[in-house]
């Protein structure tokens, strides 16, 4: 199985974020880490490789610092990496990012493409699905399990409210992987050493420029959400408090 895992480098979950000058994005000087859902996508890909033999290739787009994500993936066992390296890639919307990836892999023959469920910074959950459409491949989202079958694969999809569904799909396909489905493996010292000699192909903005177009959406402004809070104290005997709370739950919060 030849599997491509799309990975993204995002600001660390608890990093203090500062707005840039135009308040349209955050400042660069923050710690980064791999997008957590992508780490689970990679783990799933590595497990599939262990089961069915094959190759795991990782791809990311972003400035030089994003290479760290690829290095860590190679250290964990990925075979090759592709880095679309340019600051400009940060500003591309999901559609263009998917177009850039599609262009970068046009000469490859993958059986499966995995992405994480969504990114911790944007949270759009679109890139994988867009990529599938661009490639003309079937896709499924929020996948918990993957099994190889004669006709392709059988995946377990997570739905709302505790429901699940099995889906049979042909290959090649794009899957977005649910987080937390496996324990993530650690990179070993040997793995880290070996990663240095694994192929890392760089792709420039110019290489994919013809494939991408203008962004179709724009962040006009980014800001700290202001919450106007007027705390209402509920008083009285416990029985009264219970009645008042239930009234709020019913009419204000609308959960009853």
């Amino acid at each position: 199985m030849k599997i491509l895992v799309c990975m993204k480098q995002v600001p660390q979950k608890d990093a203090p974020l500062k707005l840039n000058e135009s308040a349209t994005w955050v400042r660069e000087d923050v710690s980064y880490e791999v997008n957590e859902p992508d780490a689970y996508a990679l783990e799933e890909a590595l497990r599939q490789k262990e089961k069915h033999k094959g190759e795991v290739v990782v791809i990311t787009s972003g400035p030089a610092r994003a290479q760290q994500v690829l290095r860590e993936a190679l250290a964990k066992g990925a075979d090759r990496a592709i880095h679309l390296e340019d600051n400009a890639f940060i500003g591309l919307d999901a559609f263009n990012t998917a177009k850039a990836f599609a262009a970068a892999i046009k000469d490859e023959q993958f059986d499966l493409i995995f992405t994480g469920l969504q990114s911790d910074d944007y949270g759009y959950a679109q890139t994988g699905v867009i990529l599938a459409e661009l490639l003309g491949w079937p896709h499924a989202t929020i996948i918990m399990q993957i099994e190889k079958t004669d006709g392709g694969i059988k995946v377990k999809r997570e739905l709302e409210a505790g429901y699940f569904q099995f889906v049979d799909m042909p290959l090649p396909a794009v899957l977005t992987i649910q987080s937390g489905i496996n324990k993530l493996r650690y990179a070993t010292l040997i793995g880290i050493k070996q990663a240095k000699n694994k192929p890392l192909r760089k792709v420039t903005l110019a290489d994919v420029q013809s494939a991408i177009g203008a962004n179709m959406q724009k962040i006009e402004r980014l800001y700290i959400p202001q919450k106007m809070k007027n705390t209402e104290f509920i008083e009285g005997a416990p029985g009264e408090i219970a009645k008042k709370l239930v009234e709020k739950l019913r009419n204000e919060v609308r959960v009853i």
């Binding site: 759009y124 959950a125 699940f164 962040i219 959400p225 104290f233 239930v246």
Partner: protein, 331 residues
């Protein structure tokens, strides 16, 4: 063509997914502000009943987009059907609720039409002629106002709870319903889904829970968690905890909320005996409504609570459970 707003509601097995009312509320609000007429569409097989239900609301028209191949749901069938339909109508704005199913196909649909989606919005703003969609970024730490810079149709999805489904306006009279058949050729649908089934989840994903009852040190002993559990059951919510509770092993670690646990933004967060240390607050301050019960009137949690009860949770919770059950049984 005149600019219209199209709300695509969601149905499953002939029943309307109630979150669709929220999207209609959003559509009605946008329609009022922009002057663009509001229409709705239901997609599936044998959806006339759902279409009729939707037609009872204040909008100009409802479409029942029908095909055999739309049952069961697959992204291929829905995307193909809606692309066909939307290409003929060319609304300005297409709105859907941000459900698991919509997430599964709307980026595909938009891409197939060469368009874009602003997903998981919590609101919108109209500034002059410009329409901006607000969404949370960086797991709720920041908010963004996003605009469309490309051509219509513009696609947007709204987060569950962003609008109030109960505020959707009824129509003076039923809107006309038109059935639209769509052509889905053989071979278009590639996925073969099986029956959906329910299963006890192995790990709890608190980020998807709408109602969370959380306990802190104020619960005092492990056995007291039982009353919080009963409250959670009565309300149909999930049980969660601050770190000390999970550290002591009283609840598993996947129930932990906070900087070292999960970050959640449910409709309701009910904090019992939680002081509100910053490590916990950062995991839940995005909740739409926060109710806190704590003995200490100076507990920091009260600074972010919408409703506060200064009192002994062991006195307050049992009557609350009874009252909730009573009201739910009666309604």
């Amino acid at each position: 063509m005149a600019d219209t707003i199209l709300v695509v509601v969601e149905q499953r097995e002939g029943k309307l997914n109630r979150v669709s009312w929220e999207t209609l509320t959003a559509g009605q609000a946008l329609s009022a502000e922009t002057g663009w007429p509001l229409e709705a569409a239901v997609v599936g097989k044998g959806v006339s009943a759902v279409a009729a239900e939707v037609a009872g609301k204040k909008l100009t028209k409802v479409y029942a987009v029908e095909s055999e191949k739309l049952e069961p749901y697959t992204p291929d069938s829905f995307s193909t059907a809606l692309k066909q339909f939307i290409s003929t109508k060319l609304p300005k704005l297409v709105l859907m609720p941000h459900t698991y199913q919509v997430r599964d196909f709307i980026p595909k649909l938009a891409t197939a039409m060469g368009r874009t989606v602003i997903s998981d919005c919590i609101g919108y703003k109209k500034e002059g002629d410009k329409l901006l969609f607000t969404r949370q970024m960086f797991q709720g730490k920041l908010a963004a106002d996003v605009s469309f810079t490309g051509d219509a149709p513009w696609f947007a999805t709204f987060q569950n709870g962003a609008f109030r489904g109960d505020k959707v306006e009824a129509g003076a009279s039923a809107a006309p319903v038109e059935t639209v058949s769509v052509e889905i050729a053989d071979g278009v649908v590639r996925n073969k889904p099986q029956e959906v089934f329910k299963e006890a989840k192995q790990a709890v994903d608190l980020t998807q829970a709408e109602i969370i009852i959380a306990v802190g040190r104020g619960i005092k002993e492990q056995k007291n968690i039982e009353i919080a559990k009963q409250l959670a059951e009565a309300l149909g919510g999930e049980l969660a905890a601050s770190r000390p509770i999970c550290d002591s092993g009283w609840l598993p670690m996947d129930r932990q909320i906070g900087s070292s646990g999960q970050t959640v933004a449910p409709k309701l967060y009910l904090a019992l005996g939680i002081s509100g240390a910053i490590q916990h607050i950062v995991g839940m301050k995005g909740a739409r409504t926060i109710i806190a019960v704590n003995k200490d009137s100076e507990a920091p949690i009260f600074e972010i609570a919408d409703y506060a009860v200064v009192g002994n949770l062991f006195d307050v919770v049992p009557p609350l459970i009874e009252e909730v059950k009573k009201v739910k049984a009666g309604s």
